[in-house]
Amino acid sequence: MATSRNQAIKTRAFLILAGVLGVLFVALPTAILLSVGMMPTLVAMIVDMTRGRYLTKCVAGMNLAGVFPFLHSLVTTSHDMSTAINIVSDPFAWLVMYSAAAMGWLVFMGLPGVVSMFKVLTAKRRIYILQEQQRNLLNEWGDCILPNKDGNQDGDDGSVTTSSTVSVNST
């Protein structure tokens, strides 16, 4: 059983190696450009601790957007080593590719805060409305609607924490 699994791993590694060697042999200029241009994505992949690997995805998308014009230029011209070397040795190309990746990183770091701010504001508004609703209910019905109140048919509902009720009363 263990022998067959090792065999499968070995086969897969061989296939990957063969694929990489094949790509290097067929599209070496593209490989050189991608390996240099997509370096920030590799870094992001290494440092990404989020569960859905959102940092990697975010940086990769923007990084690719920065790399793709140069890749397009390489593929649509001669697709040779000299052109690839020219691109990777051009500081402007580096600036464009790494700035795009940096933008991706910034979006990853900044956007959740903005979204969270909006969501929290919305939640606060919602909490206010709910507390207002609870206050109105208490004004209309009195304590008898409080959970765990004697004579309250629904009061034995243990799923409600008392903290929320207390906070409403104190409001």
Partner: protein
Amino acid sequence: MPPELAEGPIVQIDDRYRILLGSRVPELDLDGAEAVVAHDDHHSDEAVFARVCAPHSLPRVELMNSLRNMKDAAVMRPLTWGPVPMPGKERPRLAVVFNRPESDPLMAASAISMKPIPSEDVSRLILAPAVLALGYLSQRGMTHRAIRPSNIYWTGPARDTIMLGDCVTNGPAVNQPIIFETISSAMTPPVGRGDGLTSDDFYALGVSLLIIITGQCALFRASNAEVIESKVSRGSYAALMGDTRMTFGMRDVLHGLLADDVVNRWGLTELEQWLIGGTRNKVQENKRVGVARAFEFEGKEFTNCRALAHAFTLHPKAGAKAGSNPEFAKWLLRNIADESISDQIGAIARSASTSGSNSGLNPRQLARVCAALDKNGPIRYKTLIAKAPALGNVLADGFMRKDKAIISLVGETIGNGLATDWYTAQSNQLQLRYEKQMMNLKAMQTSLSNNGIGHGIERCLYSLSPSFACFSEVLEDHFITDVRDLLPALEEIVSRKGKLLKLVDRHLAAFIAARGKINLDRRFATIEAAKGDVNLIKLGMLGILATLQHKYGPSQLPALTDWMAGELEPAINRFGSKSTRDELLQRLGKAGSGGRLIELNSCLNNEKSLRIDEIAQKKATREFIVAGREIDQLQSKAFQDTVQELGWRIATGISASVAGASVIILAMS
């Protein structure tokens, strides 16, 4: 100064009759009922007088209602009646207005002899009109129960006919001297005699005729015990006649009327036949069947079951022992022809011996033994001696005298089935006659087992004693026997005093339950289900009073409704919703001033609204809980995490979109 001008309070009844309470007319007094001057304001030439019923008396109001319209019957008819206030704390008494008799009674009340009237005149002047009057009463199922020479009046311009006197200002036969009563009735205390039967009236008529014809009676001077003993041992006719000789024709009549066996006693048919001269077989002499050997009890020898039952009642401890003694059973078997008596008593004695009691029969068993010995006699239970139809009167008397022992005894008698046993022991003919009363008694047996408001001994009181006025202290000085008069009386009290003493009262509830011809069982069940909740009980009473107003009126009860609205305001708190309470409060104010208890009831006793309120309360509770949950969720760490993840997702989406756009743009260029 003539008595008419004497000073004293004046009470007006029916806006017509003025009663001068301070002007006594002693010659028209009847037993405890005091006669006073009265004036008819509509017909000033009409000679009327009023009798103020004695304290603790039991006026026969039901009979008054029937008798008032019987203008053809030669009976002293009540013209009207009403309560008259009494000084001090005494409860009001009933005053009954009558036409003043044209002449004196046949015999003065205090006299023990009178001038004899020839028997040929008696049949024409007295017997014929008396039979006619009793015929009228009998047709309507009524009895007079106060026939005696001192309560029979001469009438007519030439004193050529008679009128039976007052029979309504006291309970049936309550003031009747014992010689005018049949043996079983004589053995019963006055209040326990009851309405009896028309045959009881004929018996009293027979005794009266005997006195009228002979001018006296052999037993007039005898004590009650001697009268009973004499009648039991010799038979009524022989005992009452003594050595008196009677004319041939009249002797038959007296024989017939004084027959101790009710089956043989002359009634309407026989008397009418005799009066028109028809032949009538002579009544058999009351045969005193002798027994081979007397039974000795308490130093006396008894040869008669009825007398023995009476003696057992007078000496209950000795009776309990004697009744369970096998010698007694043997004596019955050997000497009493009716084997059913010895069978019944034997069975009772055996059940007593199996229960292992050393003191013989228990009171109930002794009562059953007495009932077996004298099935036409009264119920004899502990110290209670009464005929079953009179239990209501005994109960009423007990309440008036605040005699808890007798009240309890009546309750026991009904509860343990002795009263229904009395009815079932009667002949089939009598059972048919008593059918309604028996049904009523069975209903009371059930009611007694329920001690809730509207049931219990009070319900028995008002059901079994239909003439008894409501005894509730809430009614203060009002004398209410008809449920129609109840609400106007309560209205009067509230408008005068601003409130009722209390709203919920056992007597009031029982009175309504017994006298109102409405099925209020559901209402009483609601009160019972309230389990002491004052507001719910009050609401129950409101429902009952509202039903009364709906059924009997009056349409407007402003003071009572307003007071009840205030009294029942706390009941609004049954509703959980504040807006509903506010709305009800407004409606309550309007209903309170509207004078309609029905409105008030529909406002406060609305089960549908209550159910809607309960449902809304449950919904509100759920909404409160759901809102609480949502607040908790919005304030939770999980929510913060979700929001952050959402931000990342959006960032990833933007990044992917930019990449995709750049690829597409370059690919298309």
